[in-house]
Symmetry: C2
Subunit: 360 residues, 2 copies
């Protein structure tokens, strides 16, 4: 059945029935505002991120359930990047009236599922008709007063670290653009692929469609006071490192041989004649954390017992150089690139690219 | 110049230069999250409202400056309806890459202007390319702990009140649909109109394009503890009274002869052969406050010295009747109507109505 057949108020009731009654809110859906009681001694963190059909996703490659998870996940990642703990979400949905109600059901189930992993509930929002589908999430989080980890605290001499491994989300996008699809957790490829390549493609697409917000890692760093600056990798390592350097007023050099490339990214890059390093540096949406620290590697290892949890990739330097990559051959090149919503989108409109994602 | 020519990051810098540096935020635009320190003893209020091109406005009838003011104003009104004080805003903008940069400049000037009237600053947000223009504002406000005025507190026997006068915003929309335009505060009509009708049309269109959030009135009611339930009139008196009754589990009767109809609404209704009462009951976007109170009229008058500030329009009754209108002739009719985003929007798409607003 279509949304227009039941109307706005029945749809709101339907959404209320899908969402759990928030245990943490004073007021939730059904009033002019939602209300929360702040925790004493904490600062509020506020972030909002919008996913737009044709720019940030295409319904052809993502189910509404995963889209809901992603819309929540990308916002959770912003809270993680401040060392915060997320608390509650507002969800804005702009949707064509001829869309199926089941689409909305699945979208909110995805939002609920991803939120529940981090004890976050949807406590309010807004619905509107629109010719373009759009999902906006606003997240409220908290962090110990004065302890938010910003982008602007990096100091020359510190090490630059990343959590996890990079390039898988970009590799997943390469696979989607090549016609691979994830259906009910099974992978479909329009070409012959070995079991191991199929598994790499499945993992990479899964990673592209459902980011893993590094809330736990961000909290560990904030509680230990280990990170001087932090940002999440949404636009790509090259671009996000540049943001951090600009806000901190520093330069940075990272070493090619230190960049932890995800093995699915390597396998997929090989298959499609791409450079794994490019996927790791320029591909966005890994949603790992990039942070700087004056701590010795042994001390970072003490708070992250899993050696793969964080890798030192370079050093912060005095302002003036921008961001540089020290290659395996010892040469140093300037890092450029990263995603620009408006420029890339205009190119896309010119090219009429049928699979459109924000990072290409 | 077009947005795509300068790109996302230059556009963000441009927006930062238009917005005042927030005095009230710990962190603002330029980090993964904005940060605020909550006021001790207060609860947080959170609300979000989205304006969509072709649904909530048309660029043909509203300047980007007024659109910015309206996007902020409709959210301020939600904080007013809880008796709260607004603190800070996040702004989400989805915009076609071929839009002019000056459009964005003017939009943010409007957001800044309307926010400044209530000491609210834009402390964060998100930008995305989109084929459909959309502006979303999320507002954070505060209210004394446990003192938010909800929709659910109305009790049988209480009086029902509205602030200000009703119907002007709907009358403004009637005038816009008839081809009247407001340009640089001068009115243009495609027909002969007396000076007084022109002035009525100017005021009504102004009211439609720039709502007046009743923050002061809402605070007065909350501080005095006078209102048992409250809602802002965004969908229309008939519809919003029904929301309040449903959440409170009560019925309501309002009296036709008590409804304070704005005189511009009466003048415009006469000119276009419409019923002023219909504009006041069914027309939305007046953004006055509807509240219930056990207080005597003399006590309400004591907190609102201006007699036009609030008018008693009816009484709360036991559940079971819904919302009724007692007409001048003594007969009682059931109140129906109000705006439904999805149903109205589908009708619009069928009719290809060139002037599209959410309340018709």
């Amino acid at each position: 059945m279509r949304i227009s057949a039941i109307g706005e108020f029945a749809l709101i009731e339907r959404i209320r029935s899908i969402l759990p009654r928030p245990h943490d809110a004073i007021l939730d859906i059904g009033d002019d505002c939602a209300a929360l009681r702040p925790t004493a001694g904490k600062d509020l963190l506020l972030t909002t991120d919008l996913l737009v059909d044709g720019v940030d996703f295409t319904p052809q490659t993502i189910t509404p359930f995963r889209l809901g998870r992603k819309a929540m996940g990308v916002n959770l990642s912003d809270i993680a990047a401040m060392g915060g703990l997320p608390r509650a979400a507002l969800v804005t949905l702009a949707i064509p009236p001829d869309e199926e109600i089941e689409f909305v059901d699945e979208l909110y189930r995805g939002l609920r599922e991803e939120g529940a992993r981090f004890a976050v509930e949807v406590i309010g929002g807004d619905l509107s008709a629109s010719s373009t589908l759009m999902i906006g999430v606003t997240l409220v989080g908290e962090v110990e007063a004065g302890k938010a980890v910003t982008r602007s605290g990096a100091k020359p001499g510190e090490r630059i670290w990343v959590t996890g491994r990079l390039g898988a989300a970009a590799a997943g996008l390469v696979a989607l653009k090549a016609g691979c699809r994830l259906r009910d957790n099974r992978i479909e490829t329009p070409f012959e692929a070995s079991d191991s390549l199929q598994e790499a493609i499945r993992q990479a697409i899964e990673r592209h469609l459902c980011p893993i917000p590094r809330i736990r890692e961000g909290r560990t760093l904030a509680e230990a006071g280990a990170a001087s600056a932090m940002i999440d990798l949404s636009d790509g390592l090259a671009s996000d490192l540049a943001h951090l350097c600009r806000e901190s007023g520093v330069s940075a050099t990272i070493r090619e041989d230190r960049i932890p490339i995800d093995q699915t990214a390597s396998a997929i890059a090989r298959r499609f004649g791409q450079e794994p390093l490019t996927l790791a540096l320029q591909g966005g949406e890994d949603f790992e954390l990039l942070f700087t620290s004056s701590w010795e590697p042994a001390d970072i290892a003490a708070i992250f017992p899993d050696a793969a949890a964080a890798t030192a990739v370079g050093t912060v330097e005095e302002a003036g150089y921008g961001c540089r990559l020290e290659q395996r051959d010892g040469r140093t090149v300037t890092l450029t690139g990263g995603y620009d919503h408006f420029r890339h989108q205009q190119e896309r409109m010119r090219n009429q690219d049928p699979v459109l994602h924000r990072h290409w």
